[in-house]
């Protein structure tokens, strides 16, 4: 290979290294810029009063209390609906079906396709099925159910993964005691995999909190305090969208809401990390000791 040396100094290597670090630095600056902007602007408005007050003047002033309540409602509905389905899918994938058989293959394929569907398509589906066909209208319930479809693949995959990583040793141990398959699952595998399962649930929660396009035309726009799950209510993400595009002069409060959302997501991600680490420790610690 030819080399370009000046006084024993490899010029080409230097140039490429320079380019690589330059690009990395650009990327880091690009990634940090929005985060710092959100922090800088958001800190000006974010306070307890902001979180506990109702929005006034279309959101230009006041706070985001009803919006937080709506968001909580939407997310709770979606988790309640998605969790049993995801658990069923995960159990059948890891314990029920033969992993090479056609039912497992179809199930896995359908999850993969579901995971790739763009969120706006979920919105169309939710509008057509939940809002119109089932006559739920623009409501927290309709939005939550649509979101449930969207987070199902994430949730099912992480549940299946944590059940799988609970390991052969626990399963064989349970079987050796003469327990039935469902008792092993329920009394051995699920308790052992619990930190992993919790991590999966919190991960799905972050997905649900970050979503906007799905909720734009399923859960409605109302910024009043919702009284039931059949009321219309906007999530924090929809509030940010509305303030920044439809309300002139709402940018600062949009940043405040964005900062609140980011802090919540950061807290949840931290929880995921802690739970995952607990799960790993439990797996490596227990199995090596018992074997």
């Amino acid at each position: 290979m030819r080399r370009f040396h000046v006084f024993g100094f490899d010029v080409r290597d230097f140039v490429w290294t320079f380019v690589m670090y330059g690009l990395t630095l650009t990327a880091v600056a690009m990634l940090l810029w929005p985060l710092l902007t959100v922090f800088g602007n958001g800190l000006q408005v974010l306070s307890w009063d902001f979180l506990l007050a109702s929005p006034e003047d279309a959101g230009r002033s006041g706070g985001i209390a009803p919006i937080l309540v709506s968001t909580l409602g939407i997310v709770l509905v979606s988790l309640t609906a998605a969790l049993p389905l995801a658990f069923g899918v995960a159990v059948m994938l890891t314990e029920g079906f033969n992993p090479a058989g056609w039912p497992a293959t179809i199930l896995r394929c359908s999850l993969d396709i579901l995971a790739g569907i763009p969120s706006v398509v979920f919105g169309l589906f939710g509008l057509s099925l939940f809002c119109r066909q089932l006559e739920l209208g623009y409501s927290i319930l309709a939005g939550g159910l649509t979101l449930a479809c969207m987070i199902l693949p994430t949730l099912a995959r992480s549940l299946a993964f944590s059940l799988e990583s609970a390991g052969v040793a626990h399963r064989a141990g349970g079987a050796a005691l003469g327990l039935s398959k469902q008792s092993v699952l329920w009394h051995v595998m699920v308790p052992v995999a619990l930190p992993g399962i919790c991590a999966g649930v919190v991960l799905a929660l972050t997905r649900a909190l970050a979503e906007t396009a799905v909720l734009l035309f399923t859960s409605g726009y109302s910024d009043r305090m919702p009284e039931s799950v059949l009321d219309s209510g906007r999530s924090v993400s929809v509030h940010i969208y509305d303030l920044s595009t439809n309300v002139p002069g709402g940018t600062l409060n949009a940043y405040g809401s964005a900062l609140a959302l980011l802090l919540l997501l950061a807290l949840l991600s931290f929880t995921v990390h802690a739970l995952t680490r607990w799960m790993q420790r439990r797996m490596t610690g227990n199995t090596t000791r018992s074997l």
């Binding site: 690589m20 706006v120 169309l124 589906f125």
Partner: protein
């Protein structure tokens, strides 16, 4: 007395009964979970079919323009806008993601690599609407100084690129990790400089994984709604320059769905169906190539 043979006891034993109930419940739940994707396709098809049947699928590219009230549904400008946005975002994001991945995997000291990886993961969790908000209030005014109105293809490309950098970086990193260390050690032993090892040996060895990362990034970019809705200006036209405002296919669905009726509504479901097909095809290609990368090494 002979009524209670072992066989009969075993058959009605509560454990067996409970087992049967448990597994049928789990199967039903799994069936329902698998059915959602078929339900989505069925709904999109049934809502869009009346309009597709009226003039064949070609009409969506040959009609006079996008005037949904006058039954003219030409989606070409919006499809092109989506494609330009995706290709532009890939062109911007790929070199940056590749650089971060190479630096974190091979060059940087462990602590710096750890910090960089955490930054990438953190950015991956940022909601797209927050990127949109930042784009509207930071990038659009800057583009506006340069060439009004600011809300443009360029702004969209930059912000979508930023949004897919984490996706591409994470996937590229795992592709680079599949390259056997023996390749790198061998090259170093032969006296090849670090940059040449990375450019001539590591990148070619991981090229399928990198390609897969790009395709999956493209799938994410083309399906993205909020950013393109907020920063691209939303004017239906084929862009002639980077500074022209455009309307992407996904943004169009989000904009017109709340009030669309009849054929107009059906046309939006056609757009949704098109989006679903495009993204599924991209994901399938990306996953397939990515699998080949993982197989090639192991």
């Amino acid at each position: 007395m002979t009524l209670l043979t072992d066989e009969v006891v075993a058959k009605v034993h509560p454990t067996k009964l409970r087992g049967w109930a448990f597994w049928s419940a789990m199967s039903m739940l799994a069936l329902l979970g698998a059915a959602i994707v078929f339900l989505i396709v069925a709904f999109l098809l049934s809502e869009s079919f009346p309009l597709i049947a009226q003039g064949g699928p070609i009409r969506f590219f040959t009609d006079e323009g996008w005037w949904p009230r006058d039954a003219s549904f030409n989606m070409t400008p919006m499809v092109l806008a989506s494609l330009y946005l995706t290709i532009g975002a890939l062109v911007v994001a790929t070199p940056l993601s590749l650089a971060i991945s190479l630096v974190t995997t091979f060059k940087a000291p462990a602590r710096l690599a750890h910090v960089l990886r955490n930054l990438v993961e953190l950015s991956a969790a940022v909601p797209t609407v927050v990127y949109g908000l930042w784009g509207v209030s930071s990038i659009v005014p800057i583009v506006n100084i340069w060439s009004p109105p600011g809300a443009s293809l360029l702004a969209g490309v930059l912000i979508v690129a930023l949004m897919i950098i984490p996706t591409i970086t994470v996937l590229t990193q795992s592709a680079l990790q599949t390259v056997p260390t023996a390749y790198v050690q061998g090259a170093t032993a032969l006296g090849v400089s670090t940059s040449q090892t990375l450019l001539r040996i590591v990148i070619p060895a991981a090229r399928q994984g990198i390609f897969s990362a790009m395709v999956l990034g493209a799938a994410r970019a083309i399906g993205e709604t909020m950013v393109v809705l907020m920063v691209c200006g939303n004017i239906v036209q084929v862009p002639t320059s980077l500074f022209d405002p455009v309307r992407a296919l996904t943004a169009n669905i989000a904009l017109e769905m709340p009030y669309a009726m009849g054929d107009h509504r059906a046309s939006l479901f056609v757009a949704g169906l098109l989006m679903l097909l495009l993204v599924s095809a991209l994901v399938a290609v990306g996953e397939w190539v990515g699998m080949r990368q993982r197989k090639m090494i192991s």
